[in-house]
Amino acid sequence: MVETELAGLEQAITQITRELARQPSAEGMSYYYELAGRSLDPGYLREAKAQGKKVVGTFCTLVPEELVLAAGAVPVRLCSGFGATITRTEGTCPASLCPLVKSSYGLWLSTPPIAAQCDVVAVPTTCDAKKKLAELLSDRVPVWLVQVPSTKESTEARRAWGRQIVLLKQQLENLTGRRIGRKALRTAIAICNQKRAALRRLYELRKEARIWGRDALLVADTSFHDDPVQWTRQTDALCAEIAQRDNVQQAAANLPRLLLTGSPVVFPTWKLPMLVEESGGIIVADDICTGAKALWDPAYVTESSLAGMLEAIGERALSITCPCFAPSTARLNRLVQLSRDFRVDGILYHVLRGCHLYGMEAQAAEDRFRELALPTLRVETDYSLEDTEQLRTRVEAFVEMLSARKLE
């Protein structure tokens, strides 16, 4: 039964990657299509396992990748975008629960290679659903609960997070039997910062609409499914390729530009970016967990001692604009900044049904956007494809309205 289920998931992947490959933004995209195609069985995990390395599964964006790498382990993100795996969670998870968490748990129950290869799973306590997911998973795999503070604006909370980072370091050292030293950590930070820099260079090119949003999102989404050095090299090559071309995207240059924010858009649930770009818009920027959010800022090391570097990576993680922090002014600020920097015409606010953190911030965000005279389309949906045509009508109308405004 599991085999047929996995085959179904593979089919969902192939369908989307094939659709994307029909009109790729660049030749360099094939690497990412391939990577996405192997979502259930990332090649680098097999290699790592063959070398005797430990694999650390992570959720969300708040587990510092640097630490995992410095310990000589391999991180992989387990947040799932498969609608089909949700059926397995019936009975365990309430129907109204966030589809990402249901799907991720369901994926684990179907035991694809990506799950089977994890030695441990680190789950940050970002939202209630993730907390309980950690509990459910702990019956099947060793789970580390990474305790994320509820605010980033109190000294006590920041201190507690600093201790959590040190604890995570110790856990990783115990797992791999390798001490995380200054040199290893410095190298890991450099690798991760280069990865972030590569993504930012790509986003600079998005300002000129040189790459389709659906492709750029896939680049970001796959950033936690390969060796970071390899991913960085490929992304640099992609940037070089699309920076060189003249006028290829001239058509895209005049399209209505959208900022995608809200709940994660996880491969292969790619309906939203596809719909926007089929409707004649282009997503030029995003603030979503599977997009730029996890990679936006670098770790800034002010003290090169071990404790200083741990502090730097801890605070970098805390700078991520996750709505689990209250107040969430930082996230709203980021949205305003993005909409200015990327000269967007409108906002697409994505809410996964059951994702209360993003849902409850939608109004505040919309108010901020209204001050900037930017219209917002709030879309509440899940991983099913049933509402695709309904969504298409709304997205098309929105994009049409944006183009009309743009012509004025």
Binding site: A197, D297, E303, R334, Q337
Partner: protein, 316 residues
């Protein structure tokens, strides 16, 4: 160009300008709110020029009051302090103070071994007031010494016996520690036994505090004890030079707070647009440079003159 790689050379140039006879810096230096590099070079300068010009503003104040120097010099003294304060606040501490440079270099070495010690916020707030207390104390002492009867008595009984020239001229310099000629000169050039007195011991003790503090806490001296810096601190809020913040782009990443050697919190904590120059700020601009989102800037008279942290992704 990273501003921090510019800062150390500028510090050295300014220190040379302000401290060495051959450039004429000694003529204006006693009237500027920055500590002097009198200690190490003093014995040489003494031979060349006489030591009287190597003073911090309070030394100048003391000498004017005791009548060693003309009272008329108080005018350029206060003029210098106020003018510099109004123009650049405490920036000379970050860009032209030899003892600031020593602590900055200490910091570089320290980070090879261990992290800085963060001072608890409430202690930090209280200790920051200490430098004003010291400023008031030395100013009052100088004033007291200007009363001839007192000055004579004290210089006779307490100071004169140990270090005749110096204390007669500006007695309270006796309590001024590492900055003064006596201490390091004593250490480096060897002390005449007769010159070592109880005050030299006090000075040595404070010298130890200076280096021990610098080893653990960045710019410990400047933060909590430097009364000369305190004169600049008084102007930080109103000076022409200001750190500004556009909070709309702040994501509270904490880079600025982590980078700040003076443990200022305002650049990160403050919400709303406007000035974030704290009294402790020495305008080293590490915060501006560390900001990934263009949130902080240095402005002069309301015009932004430096915005760091842009386009970090372009650097390899």
């Amino acid at each position: 160009m990273r501003i921090q790689s510019l800062r150390n050379p500028i510090q050295i140039v300014l220190i040379l300008l302000l401290n060495f006879t051959f450039i004429g810096g000694l003529v204006i230096s006693p009237f500027l709110p920055v500590l002097r590099l009198t200690t190490v070079i003093n014995p040489f300068v003494h031979i060349i020029k006489g030591e009287q010009m190597h003073l911090c503003p309070l030394g100048t104040l003391g000498r004017c009051l005791t009548g060693t120097w003309s009272l008329g010099l108080l005018l350029p003294l206060f003029g210098g302090l106020i003018l510099v304060g109004l123009l650049v606040g405490r920036a000379l501490c970050g860009w032209g103070c030899p003892f600031g440079l020593v602590q900055d270099l200490f910091d570089r070495v320290r980070t090879l071994w261990f992290s800085r010690k963060k001072v608890r916020e409430d202690w930090h707030a209280h200790l920051s007031g200490l430098k004003y207390v010291l400023l008031a104390f030395f100013a009052l002492l100088a004033l007291a010494m200007s009363v001839p009867a007192l000055a004579n008595r004290y210089s006779e009984e307490l100071f004169k016996a140990h270090w005749p020239d110096l204390f007669q001229a500006a007695p309270f310099c006796a309590l001024c520690f590492p900055m003064d000629a006596s201490t390091l000169a004593t250490l480096i050039h060897g002390a005449t036994p007769g010159l070592l007195g109880p005050y030299t011991m006090v000075q040595l003790l404070v010298l130890v505090v200076f280096f021990a503090g610098a080893a653990l806490v960045p710019r410990f001296w400047c933060r909590y004890l430097c009364w000369v810096g305190a004169t600049g601190s008084l102007f930080n809020r109103v000076s022409l030079l200001q750190l500004r913040k556009r909070s709309a782009s702040c994501t509270k990443c904490g880079n600025c707070a982590r980078a700040c050697p003076m443990q200022c919190r305002a650049p990160m904590d403050q919400d709303g647009d406007g000035r974030v120059t704290e009294q402790g700020c020495v305008f080293c601009l590490k915060c501006v440079e560390s900001c990934p989102n263009h949130t902080l800037s240095l402005s002069a008279g309301g015009t932004s003159i430096y915005q760091g942290g842009r386009a970090w992704w372009k650097r390899s």
